[in-house]
Symmetry: C3
Subunit: 268 residues, 3 copies
């Protein structure tokens, strides 16, 4: 069995910390596939890690072990946990990085990572990604059952972070915000298609107005280049969320908008 | 058969988009080797993608599938295509990213990607790298013949971008320009050895003068450290192109030169 | 045998140079695992490469081949060498990148890379990572013995760089400096636990004072969050060195300290 382990961290790429984790994993299971999702989560940005994990994990092979090391509390009181769903495993600190997984998945079992025989022999105070999470992921990839990692943890006990608010009214509008900005400067909101369909039946993307700052965009476009270069558009993006974009440019720069900007979608 | 898939994109490294493509590929073929060439193409810089691809692909194993996702027209009218040469496969949008491959390779067959059974079940409007190109690359790596992907496409119908001009005269000079600048600040031109050999027989690297801005460099050096620290030199670089460099420093910063700077090479 | 090759370079991530090296390696051995430690060594920073290698290599599988391409003298007089220790192989230019390996390991055999049959057929003047080091690493990963690479090289002949000084007195203090700063802004010194234990028996982390600039920190903490947010602390870091940190922030920014800053640890 050729398992996959994915990595999401805030380690950046200059210090070799993610490479070291891979060395640890391959020492335990040389046949595993290791995939970097990203190491560029802003230091300690737990929400961003949770969000990237949430839109990435459905695209990985069944049985993939997703390791998330955004861990400002390393060495302190926080626990480290592993979760198992029907399709995936998750390993990371119990600090809220799995909030969106918990919202999404019904059938979750969890454990505390306690079985020190599966850690590196020496555990540092500052790098549990290397000393605990990487070796645990390696052992999981070899088929060690999650129950051997430590005592059971009820999903309702797992720490959740509060999420950016989004309010939809059946009478015809949703108010959310920009929750992420990608490399292209696309402004990704927390407003999804399901919310729009609650007040717009039959669903018609042309009958929507999208407001943000001074912007008012009419209708959802079907591609980034369906408007002229430099013009704004709104689109249902690949994360399944409404996105505000500019053809061939960065919406973030063009409109000086940042995370947290309020976005409203109305029918008309 | 342990095939290789290479990736060139403008996705950057913070959003996880290239990791998601790898998840899709490994879901189809868990035994493939996936290599990042780069994800730091400047957003929508089709020429840079074409150039990096051109100097990278000859170094990959026979049968490698090179996937290029620099795709400002995603979701719009542009086609997505696959090419096959005697040594390699190429997958990407039909927007000019394969211009230099078409110049280089004689024996090319092409197809449009049309066989939706080989795409992800749900195709988004904004991320065809994930929904179409990654799964197609995965299937190619399993040995699916290119003819199963869609209808044939004649090489002469494939879109080409115009390339930075380079003019050589048999009487003794070549005029080109800086077309790329690498991490070290080396200024890479579009002037290759073959051009110099047309007017300098027998070829003698000492009998050349290289002009750019206020710089005049005599002769091609045989190594970056053949001059003193901080001094300029010209050298036949690893891309097979004349490069302007500074020993232990960045030529780009030292001379405030950028892409597009005119470079002339003369015999004397 | 599923060998691992690790890569440390100053290539950055935009030019595809590390991807090309992987193409070369996989052309020779498609079954090898290739791990990026980092490609973000500052151009030509040999000490940083030596330091990262030193704290990374112990975590890799036995038999791993560590390739270090920080090579300002490429194409010039410097040799390229390979080293073998009981657990690992090392390949790189003879410019000091292996200084810390030589300090650490007792049982080393070395060779010059001279066997051109194991290089790429055409060797450029500017990219020996691609043309020499990558193919040599590929061949080593197939089990080619180090003695076939070229003539023997005595460890005492290998070039060493001078290291940032650290002085410890048995009467109760150590003076070193900040030698590295990680992505989180943690200031990593060259003062290790062994040095502290020479003057503090029994060792008691609470009985130390750490001085740097205007800072005076009492005691070594057991985790980054053992102080309040924004407050400074000192800790025995994952590299085995004393580190100066700030809870949930960058010590580098908070105290405007840089590499070279003098750090003193005293018992009291």
């Amino acid at each position: 069995m050729n398992r996959t382990i994915s990595l999401i961290t805030d380690f950046g790429d200059k210090d070799g910390y993610s490479g070291i984790m891979k060395g640890v994993i391959l020492s335990i299971n040389p046949d595993v596939n290791i995939v970097d999702i990203t190491h560029q989560i802003m230091p300690q940005d737990i929400f961003q890690a949770a969000f990237v994990l949430n839109y990435s994990y459905p695209y990985f092979p069944e049985g993939t072990i997703h390791v998330v090391v955004v861990d400002p509390g390393v060495g302190g009181q926080r626990s480290i946990i592993a979760l198992k769903t029907p399709t995936s495993f998750f390993v990371g600190p119990d600090n809220g990085v799995f909030t969106l997984i918990l919202e999404q998945e019904k059938n979750i079992s969890g454990v505390y990572l306690e079985n020190r025989k599966l850690f590196l022999p020496k555990v540092s105070q500052t790098f549990h990604g290397r000393d605990i999470m990487a070796p645990i992921a390696g052992h999981l990839s070899l088929g060690v059952p999650i129950t051997e990692l430590g005592s059971a943890l009820k999903p309702e006990k797992i720490k959740r972070i509060s999420l950016p608010g989004v309010e939809s009214s059946v009478t015809g509008q949703v108010t959310g915000s920009v929750i992420s900005i990608d490399r292209f400067g696309n402004l990704i909101t927390n407003i999804n298609e399901k919310m729009l369909k609650t007040f717009l039946k039959p669903f018609d993307p042309d009958r929507l107005k999208i407001y943000a700052g001074n912007l008012c965009i009419t209708g959802l476009s079907s591609s980034y280049d369906s408007v002229n270069k430099g013009e704004p558009l709104a689109i249902m993006g690949s994360h399944g969320m409404v996105e505000i974009s500019v053809c061939c440019a960065s919406a973030q720069s063009c409109f000086s908008m940042d995370k947290g900007e309020i976005v409203k979608v109305e029918k008309y």
